[in-house]
Symmetry: D2
Subunit: 342 residues, 4 copies
């Protein structure tokens, strides 16, 4: 059994890790920390875990973290960069679900996140945890930068096109729609049901922190800088991201065949039949990305539809997938839940 610690267990990625790990046959959560809620039983905060998680939140200085085999950081940005070092030094592997180690250009990271990075040397070591792009490196890593939710949906959608070099990488557009759990379990007026319910809006149009992360990944796929317009929107649902991607074709290609071939061996990416339109609920609760590709009216514009559950393939599920790779388990261990529909 892998001994697991979770730092910051009171948010949505925390409770989702607990849900997934409660059903994982080879992992056992031994410590969940929360500075604010230390001492409170976890199932008092999350009724859904009654009978399944028999722990209380412990203090973040909890010594037992260093006895873990792996620690997940489900913390706000700016925490893991301070605390990961101690754990790594103790031989613990670290999977950070925050943004601290995602951007290789530290100056760029500091600009977007408005902080001085506490551990730039770890940025260089960290492996970006998108297995469908990066599987081999993940297996040998000590420190994983788990991708953001938008970046996962967008990168998986563009990857076949950029890897094949069949689109203009300078004029990419990602029009993304997220459910509100993406904003986290934080008391904010804008995320109230009475504010975000029954309404739709864009946000961060002038610049969103996931932009540099996505651009970095896309550039790697095509070995060239990319031009990306990224517009995120808030949609009145709880879980799910739908990315609608636009690119200009520069070569004649059978798009459906290209996508099917590219993801042939991936168990968590589903290329749907031509003419399909994936619903976000088709992946609700599951570690899956479903894709469909179109060329409307036979023109030069290719449209890719990409859906994930932001809390699973966009966060906690992907983190467990990375853990499985790091510990030599079958990649899908504990990740075979069937999506909940309706």
């Amino acid at each position: 059994m892998i001994k697991v610690g979770i730092v910051g267990g009171t948010g949505y990625t925390g409770v989702e890790l607990l849900r997934l790990l409660a059903a994982h046959p080879s992992a056992r959560v031994v410590s969940v920390t929360s500075r604010k809620e230390a001492g409170m039983r976890i199932d008092q905060m999350f009724q859904s875990l009654r009978g399944r998680v028999d722990l209380a939140f412990s203090s973040p200085d909890d010594a037992s973290l260093t006895d873990c085999d792996v620690v997940f950081f489900a913390t706000p940005n700016g925490v893991a960069m301070h605390d990961a070092r101690r754990l790594l030094d103790a031989g613990v592997r670290v999977i950070d679900l925050s943004a601290d180690f995602r951007i290789r250009d530290v100056a760029e990271w500091e600009k977007w996140y408005g902080m001085t990075h506490a551990s730039p040397e770890l940025v260089a070591e960290a492996v970006y945890g998108l297995p469908e792009m990066n599987r081999a490196q993940i297996a040998g890593a000590r420190l994983i930068a788990n991708p953001g939710c938008y970046p996962t949906a967008v990168q998986l959608g563009f990857q076949p096109l950029l890897a094949a070099g069949v689109v203009d990488s300078a004029t990419l557009i990602a029009d993304c729609k997220s459910g509100v759990s993406g904003a986290g379990r934080k008391a904010e007026v804008g995320a109230l049901l009475a504010e975000a319910g029954d309404s739709f809006k864009a946000y961060g149009v002038g610049g969103h922190r996931h932009l540099p992360e996505i651009s970095q990944g896309l550039a790697r796929m095509c070995s060239a800088p990319v031009g990306l317009t990224f517009v995120p929107h808030l949609t009145p649902m709880i879980r799910g991201i739908h990315a609608t991607l636009y690119a200009r074709l520069t070569a004649e290609v059978d798009l459906q065949a290209l996508f099917e071939r590219h993801y042939r061996d991936e168990s968590f990416v589903d290329v749907m039949p031509a003419g399909s339109q994936p619903e976000t609920r088709s992946v609700r609760g599951a570690n899956l990305c479903r894709l469909a590709v179109y060329r409307p009216q036979g023109g030069d514009t290719v449209v890719v539809l990409s859906v994930i559950d932001n809390l699973v393939k966009g966060a906690a599920g992907q983190a467990v997938q990375n853990m499985n790779l790091m510990f030599g388990l079958a990649e899908s261990t504990g990740l075979d839940g069937v999506p909940l529909l309706p």
Copy 2:
């Protein structure tokens, strides 16, 4: 492996059975019928089952049903009463998720359901499939009448009080709220998002078909006729039932202790700590009933809060629980999914 057939697989109880059975270690679905959709791949109708269910709907006359060990009817009322006989005669066990065999008084059934019953003799044989009331009989049954969703939530909530004889059984009130999946996957204007969304209403106040089913069960608990006012409501959510139950106390009793004792050995009924208020989402996707009991202002009125997922403990999950009992499996086999929250 138990060979399973499902008659009527295009509704919500059908897809939920498929979801649960896809993860069941000792059962395998071999046939799913639909008169209207015969020939269509199941995962074309339900994207969530892509990669998990590799079957097409077959015709309801599908001969292979008689080769099954058990057949679930996930059909509208009035179908199983015609078709169950043929399967029982072939040695197949039958679990009917419709209302055909729930009411022992056939005349009463015919009044509420507006049909002549085709197999009154089977009504007498059928066992009411609420394990927490009826476990022993279920294990030996050929034919199970799987309870309705409201009846499950209401009966489990009232049972400790009526069994202990501490309330006036003549003045019971059940104020129930259901998500819209309870109305089924039928094209009806009233269940459109644009009609049922962002609004709340009562329905069936003058008389709802679940009333005689609930009354029958409650009467059995206290060995006397009961007086019940049952008011169902539609709430703008997908899954979940919340029953708020009112009864007049006739004896001094420690309500919390009474409930905890009554359900001490039940793995699918969770008596929450005093002062708790269960949310429907705390059981989303799981075969659970969570209960809380109150005596507001120390008065004579006892209030019970009872939540279930109408598609799981209120339908497909309970059906699988019954199957497990009938086939001598551990009752929780395949039913240990953690609720999906948020």
Copy 3:
């Protein structure tokens, strides 16, 4: 033109007052205060008011309030009791939408609200602003205690029964369901879309502050103390309250005729035809209460269904109705908006 001030304009009752008064032909809002947002344009906070409200929030000490003809307090509990005196002394009429002046028994108020009352003498003077119970007194009042949302729905529903003396007033039950805007525009985790969406729960079962307010009103109707069990619930919608009321009949009576006769002359209470089931959306945005009355299975229990928009008839609309009465305007002035459906 009536010169109107609003103290505390950043919440939902504040923005709803602004919406209603923007369309009122005889009133003009001249000052809207907010301690926290002083200086910010109101239409920057509320996009819906762009082009309709050309004011910025001013400081609460804004001298211009004393120049108003009437000031609405749309503040948290505990503010108006301090600030109303100054305005009344300046000859300004005051309509308080908070709970400060609703409970005549000051000790009882202090118990439920956990504060010492700053102006007990004003409690004695204040008139409870439920026009359908209290019209004459309102017209002559200086200070109005505008009813709470639950109390409005429940009192209007029980009033015909209690006034006629046809039910047992000792065993009343009010099972109430509210949309989340009732919780106000406050940053609280429990009201997030990701928490309150797609789920249903009871709250305050052990005791809710609206209980003494409702009991006081019901007692007045029947000139005797009442026994009331009040269970509020949170339903995943934005606006609307649905109260389902239960009482035991003590006399034979034509309930439908009783209700129709009782509210014959009320323009804001709609007694629906027998067999109706009012939806909360049928009053969305409008100053209306719709009622239906039932006697299920011809038994002794009477069931009343009562719906309002909590922000209109349950708050801002009723406040404007009170203002109209106080200033001798037709009661429906500015309150004739048609409900928004769907």
Copy 4:
């Protein structure tokens, strides 16, 4: 008073016309037809209209339609093209909210709508009812083709750019999100709350009927054919469209100033301050389009955000706006309702 008839009053555009006209000071609805519901009181179908609309649905052959001054068709596509002629011949003006007269190229219309057009000669006469593009012609028209909902949001968003000639008209993208009321009040499985709720998906990606209508309008603005990729999506809300528009800049221009100048004199188009992000709820129930324009990262891509209420500015409100123009009323008569927020 303008005497108004409505053909097909049982859908969402029908009930919205009734809501708006109930509050219109210069119009009176005298006849509302429905083939299926003839004889039923309108307020029995729509509780929201109780006390405001005192009519029953009449038969579509109702003679009184020819006595009207204007008749609105709120019918499915393919009805008005048959029935408009008779009314026009009787001197009645016609505003068609369906698509029958929107596409000037009849062959193109027949291709997209799958019918033979019954009145091609009326297509030539019909005036496209987008006042912000076409005001003068509308005033003198007998027959108005009221624009579709997506076309309204998209055309108003692109108009300033195309009229000024500052973008490449060959590579336009419109990524649009609609609430479910856009699908109409039809019993369809896909629009059930249990299907469309808490989920997000694209539809019609291969080709949607609004594409030729939008393209025709955009081409007119820039006097050249355009290339448009149009991807509509369904979002789990009731009312509202959010169009996110992308175009490549071909000239240096102050975008904010361009938009403000273009719509300076329009009372129903609100160009928001730079940096704004309009929410669909900011126009809920109101005849408004709110716009914001961006140039992310200072690149070549311009992004326009455009929101309307699909049932108001996208249908019934725009129809009333057109009626006002045709009858010489102030354009905003009866259209000054304040949006309902929250």
